[in-house]
Symmetry: C2
Subunit: 185 residues, 2 copies
Amino acid sequence: MKLVLASSSPRRIELMRFLKVKFEVRIPLNVNESKVRKVPEDVEELAYMKARSVMKSVDDVIIGADTVVVIDGEILGKPRDEMDARRMLYKLSDRWHEVYTGVCIMGNEWVERFNVRTSVKFAELSEKLVDFYLKTGEYRDKAGAYGIQELGALLVERIEGDFYNVVGFPLRRIWEVLERRGIWA
Amino acid sequence: MKLVLASSSPRRIELMRFLKVKFEVRIPLNVNESKVRKVPEDVEELAYMKARSVMKSVDDVIIGADTVVVIDGEILGKPRDEMDARRMLYKLSDRWHEVYTGVCIMGNEWVERFNVRTSVKFAELSEKLVDFYLKTGEYRDKAGAYGIQELGALLVERIEGDFYNVVGFPLRRIWEVLERRGIWA
């Protein structure tokens, strides 16, 4: 058995390390992330497509994931540029939004798919903080233009649900599948 | 002005780094942590005593903090040993508890004190997971015998409130004080 993470996200790689098991990273190819229109169905589907795209051997157990931020029915993916990121941060300021992560774990003859929602309340952001945050570049390649870790901790007032679902994926729920299938420890 | 963290906790030092400001670490002396009996008053008082114990110069701005875990009216501090840690983890299993952090920030002529509560729901812990967690030693020197980061992520199902309050202290609330007083950036 070879455990494989189908993601190039540094946050997800870091979270996988918490499990203290050996795993390999493979970058999913030809997966169009902008296709998410219906939540949570589409994030699960995208997680599935990412996982499937790196399947190489019958021994592989693959973990795929996809995260979006939803506010007012609008889906916020990764920002195109700094101006787009600024727009997203002001939109999120002083309000609750939802973070959905779809997960797909698959072996040769089985597939498990699920999604997890976490509610996040942003603080009221000052222009100074937004400028400072954008200057660090931490917004890049992140759904909703923020990460909840590092400086992003200053953007968030409170959450309801699984914190790690906001960071990258719901680590405990993934571990539960690996544990139940005898893949962990 | 010299910003000082009155704590030797590696988690709090790591959180301070998120702020991207210069600070110094001083270890509080002669502060008896087992004195916490009334929550949240006593965690604030302890935070104050820790901060005061490292005050050396009129230029110092000092941050002190103290965290406890409360369940069924019982205050869980740091475990005495592995057996005590095991008792605490089983007590927390499959239930909600409260994490209180008292914070004190003081300059030469001012003091700000407050406390923040976060609710944490533990997953139902298997013996295997408890054994594994205890073996890593991560329970040591942590209120309630767990940290929510690293492997501890597997113990927690969901939270309500500020995640970083559980890690070490409420980073955003501390930053708000520093920002308002012109100490940040």
